[in-house]
Structures are given as structure tokens and as C-alpha cells.
């Protein structure tokens, strides 16, 4: 894992010179997880920044918040915001740039490289530690994880603790940055999209049984949507509130207003919500894994997005988050796009 001394120096300089409003990075956590998002506003606070395998969060979500905050201010501060990004997170920045949601001048990107390692998965870590709490996680010279608990140190191989998405990592270091801390190394990859093999080998009925059981758990807390940097719509399709109700609105109008998905947590509604979200993220999801990490009911949401990511690559040669000049997946086409499924 990169040492971020150079990043901290740059951060201090940026804040001293007033070049950025504040810097979004990782700091020590208080709720039992070693890292948490940290908003650094002064050069003195910069030393609180940390970088280690527990920095799982995708901070790009806060760029969406920043844009919203600016839109509410009468005279917004137009300086950029500094942001610490991992390889995967930087792809989210690229997608936001591609969609012109933010300008390149709105962010100062402080990239960090995972340098052949990655971030840890919280459930894998909990299982490995058997109830003990992790105080610190580091990577040693042999690329093994070293976890410090209150009882001493525990060592583990990368595969035991790495987040599933890190095993399929496409960008070990940021693809866009103003400063890069750490080396541009590559992790040897598992088979791309290997995690889907097992699922795709199942029959239709088996797959349905799996997804029904998982999505029936959903309590529609919409945490998956809230944590995703790409779900930035002001009004989401499932929250159709855009009907101004006045004294003259008739009962018929209220009854017939378009409701694609009902609020109820019924099997079919949960299914449609997640399918719609997956479709809206086709060609945009960069597999930061936040949706699955935040889900309180442990629904394996990444599989839905991963499937469309695979289709985008294999059918259309499209990969999200590498080139900000590309059009969106669904607003371009090739003459040779497959059509053998069309009668």
C-alpha cells in the first residue's frame, strides 16, 4: 500500500494556498471500523489523513453532495474540492466527468495506489478474527495482511481478506489524478467476471430461487442508492413525487399518476426496483462495491451490476470509467452490435 507522505505535503500546500475548499479523505473511525471519511479544512488537520486496507469507502459520493450544496448557495465558492481516490473510485470520477455532472476543474484528485494489494472485506475480516476487533490493518512486504487486534497480531493471505471486487480489480491505481501517491503496479487478476461463472451455470429456476430469496429480504431502505456515486438523480424513478397536488387535483388524477414501482416491500416491487437500478447503471457502474457493503441485509447486489458490466464488455466492447470522452453505453452503438437474438 502506498505511503501517503507526498500526498499529505501536497494537501497541506493546497490548503495553505487556499487552492481547494476542503479535502475529502480517510481518517480514523470511531465506530469500530478503523477508517471513516474525513473532511480536512485546515493544513493542521492534514496529519489526520490515513491510508490503509480499511479505506473501503468510495468518497466520490461526496462530490455529488458538494454539487448539491453549491446549487443551494446564492454565491457559491467556486474553488475545487480535493479528493483522495483509489483506482476504482477514480473511475467513478471519470464517469461523472463523462456525463458532465462535474467539470474537471471542480476536483483536485489526490490519487493513491493500492500497489498490488486492495481493501479488506468487513465480513471476511470478522470471520477471520472470530469476534475480536481490528484496530489496524496493514500490508507487509510479502503482500500479506497484518491485522492488529487487542490481543496481538494476526496474519492472513490476500485472498482470505481482500474484498471480492479487488480480486477482479481493473484499476489498481487511479486512471485520472492530479497527484499520484504510490507506484503504478498491477495486481495479477483472477479471471475477469469469474465471480459470475457459478451463477450463470445454474438453471433459470435455480437462479430465480436465489434472487427471490435474496430480494425478499430487501427492506427498501435505499441505502444502496444513497451510497452509489452514480445514483445522483434529483428525483429517482421509484420516488415519483412529481405531482403537484392542489385542491383541484381529482381523485382520478391522483390514482392514475404514474407509479412504476410501489413503495411496498413486495417481492415483485423489490425485484423491479433492483432491475431498474441495474439498468440505469449499465455502462456506468465501476464496481466500487459500496451498494453491497452498506446493505444491512447482506443482499449480493454486485452480481446484478457485474452481469451488465460483463455484457457491456463482451457484447459491445465497452468499459465504464476509463475514458471521459466516450459517449454513454446506451447512447452509442456499433454497426456490428449483435442482433442474433432479434427475430
Amino acid at each position: 500500500m502506498a505511503k501517503i507522505e507526498d500526498l499529505k505535503e501536497e494537501a497541506k500546500k493546497l490548503l495553505r494556498e487556499g487552492k481547494v475548499k476542503y479535502i475529502i479523505g480517510y481518517g480514523a473511525g470511531t465506530n469500530g471500523w478503523p477508517a471513516a471519511p474525513l473532511f480536512v479544512k485546515t493544513p493542521e488537520e492534514v496529519d489526520r489523513l490515513v491510508w490503509d486496507p480499511t479505506c473501503v469507502h468510495n468518497l466520490v459520493r461526496f462530490l455529488v453532495d458538494e454539487k448539491r450544496r453549491k446549487s443551494r448557495q446564492k454565491q457559491p465558492d467556486k474553488r475545487p474540492v480535493g479528493i483522495v481516490v483509489k483506482g476504482c473510485d477514480s473511475r467513478a470520477v471519470v464517469v461523472l466527468l463523462q456525463e458532465k455532472f462535474i467539470d474537471r476543474g471542480d476536483v483536485f484528485i489526490l490519487g493513491v495506489s493500492c500497489e498490488k494489494a486492495g481493501v479488506v472485506d468487513d465480513s471476511k475480516l470478522a470471520r477471520k478474527l472470530g469476534g475480536k476487533k481490528a484496530k489496524k490493518v496493514a500490508v507487509n512486504a510479502e503482500n500479506r495482511f497484518v491485522v492488529t487486534t487487542e490481543d496481538g497480531e494476526v496474519e492472513a493471505s490476500a485472498e482470505e481478506l481482500l474484498a471480492e471486487r479487488c480480486l477482479e480489480c481493473k484499476a489498481n491505481f487511479p486512471v485520472v489524478y492530479d497527484l499520484l501517491s504510490g507506484a503504478k503496479t498491477k495486481r495479477p487478476l483472477d479471471k475477469p467476471f469469474g465471480s459470475l461463472d457459478k451463477m450463470e451455470a445454474l438453471s433459470s429456476e435455480e437462479r430465480w430461487a436465489f434472487w427471490k430469496a435474496q430480494l425478499d429480504k430487501c427492506i427498501r431502505c435505499y441505502a444502496c442508492r444513497s451510497a452509489c456515486p452514480m445514483c445522483y438523480c434529483d428525483e429517482c424513478v421509484v420516488d415519483s413525487i412529481n405531482l403537484a397536488v392542489t385542491a383541484d387535483t381529482t381523485a382520478d388524477e391522483k390514482a392514475q399518476r404514474i407509479r412504476w414501482v410501489q413503495r411496498s416491500t413486495e417481492s415483485s416491487e423489490n425485484m423491479v426496483y433492483h432491475l431498474v437500478r441495474a439498468m440505469h447503471l449499465a455502462g456506468r457502474c465501476i464496481d466500487c462495491g459500496e451498494c453491497e457493503r452498506v446493505c444491512p441485509l447482506d443482499i449480493p447486489l454486485r452480481f446484478l451490476n457485474k452481469k451488465l458490466e460483463k455484457e457491456a464488455k463482451e457484447l459491445f466492447g465497452y468499459e465504464a470509467g476509463f475514458d471521459a470522452d466516450l459517449p454513454a453505453l446506451v447512447s452509442c452503438f456499433r454497426d456490428e452490435d449483435p442482433q442474433d437474438f432479434i427475430r
Binding site: 410501489q262 415483485s268 452490435d337 437474438f341
Partner: protein
């Protein structure tokens, strides 16, 4: 299942080609199964994945999207977008376990009344053994 089960198909037909093709089939008195609820859209490219999910949610047993042949789209490029987007929808629906035969796409031009009737006949024939669609349907 019941001998008298008739699958209900929702068909999104583009106005300039497929819908005209279905009109030709009607005007020419061609016979084909009456299981289709046709919805005319301006272009197959305007069919949002939401329409398809919603059709299944409301109880459709099968959904068809039909548009102009590549190169013949009234809006030049709409059907190319549809070809890409609906390919993704089809694969996603199959991935979650919906029977693959329930969603299909076709190219039907305004002159292809016969082709339209064949597409519908095939669809009904393939849907009958599957029975009613219960997976995405809202049962309350």
C-alpha cells in the same frame, strides 16, 4: 395447466414500421392469435427498460418489442439504440431467472404483414407451455 390458458402478450410496436406491418396483416385479413395487446410507440429506440419491467409487473406473460430493420429507422438511429439497450434488458431478465422465451425483439417492416403474424404465432406457441408469468407480476 388449464387447457384454456391464453398467454397475454404486450407488444411495443414502432409506429412507422412494425405497427404499420400489423395493420397490413389486419387489412389483409390474415389470421393470427388474438393474444396481443399492441402499444404503438414512435420508435423502438424510445422503449425504456421500465416499460418492459412494468409490463411484466402488471401481469404480461410475454413482452415483444418490434421495430424497423437496421438502416430503415424513421429516426435514422433509434433502432440501433434499441438493439443495444434491449439486449442488455434481455440478458438481465434471464440472469435473474425469468424464462428466456418471455421477452423478445423483432424487426418487422411496414410491408411485412406476414412476418408479423408469424412472429406472433411463434410467440404464442412458445409461451403456452410456460404458463402464466408469476415471477415479476405484482400479486396483492
Amino acid at each position: 395447466m388449464a387447457e384454456d390458458y391464453e398467454p397475454r402478450i404486450v407488444a411495443f410496436l414502432c409506429k412507422w414500421c412494425s405497427s404499420a406491418g400489423s395493420d397490413l396483416a389486419g387489412v389483409s385479413r390474415m389470421e393470427y392469435p388474438p393474444n396481443v395487446v399492441p402499444i404503438q410507440v414512435m420508435c423502438s429506440g424510445s422503449v425504456s427498460p421500465l416499460y418492459i419491467f412494468s409490463a411484466f409487473n402488471k401481469g404480461a406473460d410475454g413482452v415483444l418489442v418490434s421495430g424497423c430493420h437496421p438502416g430503415d429507422c424513421h429516426y435514422i438511429k433509434g433502432n440501433y439504440y434499441a438493439r443495444r439497450r434491449l439486449n442488455l434488458v434481455k440478458n438481465l431478465l434471464e440472469f435473474v431467472g425469468l424464462e428466456p422465451q418471455r421477452f423478445r425483439m423483432s424487426w418487422v417492416s411496414a410491408a411485412e404483414g406476414t412476418k408479423y403474424t408469424q412472429v406472433i404465432k411463434d410467440f404464442v406457441k412458445d409461451l403456452k407451455p410456460l404458463g402464466p408469468q408469476t415471477k415479476l407480476r405484482r400479486i396483492s
